[in-house]
């Protein structure tokens, strides 16, 4: 377990990208702790490295150096199949562009993580309905993403993220493609999920006022470095 009992603990994490001759440090020595059940927002302008950091926390990418401990295991040291399992069972992601598969109905989209986790077929329907119920989209489950509004699509994506009962939810600019009303609704929904399920949530956004209303703590990033912290 991590030293201070936190759920997520990043230690001196660096992520470098090679662009021809030069090396760009997108994440530059970030250390960060998140408590279980905490709603934390990573704030920063575009290019600050906040999305790169989130991808590292989600196990979609590996740090060049440093360690990321989540629930006691260093995900930077996991093998590729182990990392896939981490994404399947522990960390779930919500994206700015929703990323629902356009050729599947909402229901099938939400079922996809259950297929990947080889959950029993009888169990699947129940869990899909439960997740869609939670985001208020149960009546629309047979619709395709193109037949849903932006807000509905994002709620569907959240249902998909919840269906495998992860312990941490990582949201990358979830309101970026939505109007302010719908954006607010989405953050409201995330806050509810945090409270009712005790979910740990890491939100990446550049909309500070919105984050301040729902997140418990803010971390500011600039040029890949942590530049400050704040609490609600």
């Amino acid at each position: 377990m991590s030293n201070n009992g936190s759920f997520l603990n990043a230690e001196n994490v660096c992520r470098e990208f090679r662009l021809g001759e030069s090396v760009v440090r997108a994440v530059d020595g970030v250390s960060l702790s998140v408590q279980a059940g905490e709603f934390i927002a990573l704030l920063g302008s575009s290019g600050s490295g906040k999305s790169t950091l989130l991808n590292l926390l989600a196990g979609l990418d590996r740090p060049t150096s440093g360690a990321i401990r989540v629930a006691g295991q260093d995900i930077a040291a996991l093998s590729s199949p182990e990392l896939a399992r981490y994404r399947r069972q522990t960390a779930a992601m919500v994206f700015q562009s929703f990323n629902l598969l356009p050729r599947m109905t909402l229901e099938e989209n939400v079922e996809l993580p259950l297929r990947l986790a080889e959950v029993d077929r009888k169990e699947r329907g129940r869990r899909v309905d439960e997740a869609l119920e939670r985001v208020g989209l149960a009546p629309r489950k047979r619709h395709r993403p193109s037949e849903l509004s932006g807000g509905e699509q994002q709620r569907g994506a959240i249902a998909r993220a919840l269906v495998n009962r992860p312990s941490i939810l990582l949201a990358d600019e979830p309101t970026g493609n939505l109007d302010s009303k719908n954006g607010e609704n989405i953050l409201q929904l995330l806050a509810e999920i945090q409270k009712s399920l005790g979910m740990t949530i890491v939100l990446v956004t550049h909309e500070r006022p919105l984050a301040e209303r729902f997140a418990q703590r803010f971390v500011f990033l600039s040029d890949g470095k942590l530049t400050g912290e704040g609490a609600a």
């Binding site: 989600a58 979609l60 199949p81 896939a84 399992r85 994404r87 994206f95 996809l112 297929r115 998909r160």
Partner: protein, 454 residues
């Protein structure tokens, strides 16, 4: 992912890009169809050839001669050494009994062939008469018989060759059921002064009293007219125009060309045979029978080596046909590679999403494999059907062509179950191989980059 989920997702993905995937599948189908059509032709022709050859009687027969026979005539090969010739057993009735006891021997019979004058409705023609053994009934020669085969091995009946029947009367079928008279030379043990002034009498005189020949006449009923010459396969190598049952022929004691030779080799009292034909139950028994006969001290030969050559020919023939067929399938597999690589470009984002949701590299790879295999399977099934149809069309066309020439129809193409299953399995295998590169590429896709891709 479970196999069921993989299949479901693969089929769904194939359905989404229905036109492109159908065209790719059609490509496989055409490839498999050409392969199946080619191979079915090979299989069909081989079956046809071996069936015809087996039924011709050439390949289940062993021809037996006595080394003495060759020695006596002075024309022996290197095998008939003088020592061997002197000690060799004669090919007589005892030998015939011995040969008949060898395992898997159906029938042992001598070549019965003699010259005769045929009297029919006042006309007289000279021809050669051949004795047909019972087992010749099953050769293909009697498929097109007009009339019937002999009622009994000793019956006083003849079958005429079609052209000869035409010579006898206006149409080939006219003599059927009527009677004809055979005038032939009987060999008798006691000397006799023949009444007829024929050269046979002169010959008998020249032989100096060992045997003599007497002219005889017998009436036979014409029971059948046949197209082809059945004697080609029974050890006498053709040329017959009038056929009688072998038993009948033997009971006639007609003078044969072999008699003179038998006489000169020193056993005039007992009848000996120039050659005996041993019929095996099936061509695969021929080798063992041939060896057994050689052990008995006779010379034996069969056309088994010729069938070996035939088998080699068909193996090479099938191989060539298969190669041509595979060519189309190779082109089709390039189509699969193209389709799947295109699909990766199109579905980059989807692959990224799958990975973000926890799909392993293996899951993504399996999904692309499953899609390739599904296209291979569907294409293979359609292709087998198509190949079968092409084969049927070829058979149909050939049958029409043969019918125009008044020949019996044949089955030139055949799709046995092993070819059908094999072709489908091959199509799936080829598709999987074609899917190797696209699947590996899709699996290696970096999810972060794939998700950034718009």
């Amino acid at each position: 992912m479970t196999a069921r989920d993989l299949t479901e997702l693969a089929v769904r993905n194939l359905r989404e890009a229905i036109l492109r995937n159908s065209l790719t599948t059609l490509g496989i189908a055409v490839g498999v169809a050409s392969l199946v059509a080619m191979l079915s032709l090979g299989v069909g022709l081989q079956a046809l050839a071996s069936q015809r050859l087996t039924r011709s009687g050439l390949f289940d027969a062993v021809f037996v001669t006595s080394p003495r026979a060759f020695g006596g005539s002075g024309g022996g090969g290197p095998a008939s050494h003088s020592n061997l010739v002197k000690n060799a057993k004669p090919l007589d009735e005892d030998a015939r009994q011995q040969l008949a006891k060898i395992a898997n021997v159906v029938e042992v019979y001598p070549q019965m062939r003699f010259s005769a004058q045929v009297k029919f409705e006042g006309e007289e023609t000279g021809t050669s008469v051949i004795g047909l053994p019972e087992s010749s009934r099953n050769t293909g020669a009697f498929d097109g018989i007009n009339g019937s085969f002999f009622t009994a091995p000793q019956a006083q009946e003849v079958i005429l060759q079609k052209d000869f029947a035409k010579e006898l009367s206006s149409t080939a079928d006219a003599p059927l059921g009527k009677e004809l008279t055979l005038r032939y030379a009987e060999r008798s043990a006691s000397p006799s002064s023949g009444s007829g002034a024929s050269i046979l009498d002169a010959m008998a005189g020249a032989l100096g009293g060992g045997i003599s020949v007497v002219p005889r006449e017998k009436v036979f009923r014409i029971v059948g007219v046949i197209e082809s010459d059945p004697s080609a396969g029974i050890g006498s190598f053709g040329g017959g125009r009038v056929f009688v049952p072998l038993g009948t022929a033997e009971s006639l004691h007609a003078a044969q060309p072999g008699d003179l030779q038998a006489l000169m080799s020193g056993t005039p009292s007992k009848p000996t045979y120039l050659t005996l034909t041993v019929r095996a139950r099936s061509p695969k028994d021929v080798q063992a029978i041939e060896d057994a006969i050689k052990k008995l001290g006779f010379l034996a030969f069969s056309l088994l080596d010729a069938t070996k050559g035939l088998r080699i020919f068909f193996t090479v023939f099938d191989l060539l046909l298969g190669l041509f067929g595979s060519l189309a399938l190779t082109v089709a597999s390039l189509g699969i590679i193209n389709t799947l690589v295109m699909a990766i470009l199109e579905r980059r984002r989807e692959i990224g999403v799958l990975k973000a949701l926890g799909a392993t590299d293996g899951d993504v790879k399996s999904l692309f494999f499953a899609e390739a295999a599904a296209m291979g399977f569907l294409g293979g099934m359609a292709g087998v059907g198509g190949g079968w149809l092409i084969g049927r069309a070829l058979t149909f066309g050939t049958t029409l062509y043969l019918k125009q020439r008044d020949l019996p129809s044949v089955q030139i193409s055949s799709v046995p179950w092993w070819l059908a299953l094999g072709a489908i399995a091959f199509a799936v295998l080829v598709s999987l191989v074609a899917g190797l590169y696209p699947a590996a590429r899709a699996a290696k896709l970096n999810p972060v980059e794939a998700l950034r891709y718009e």
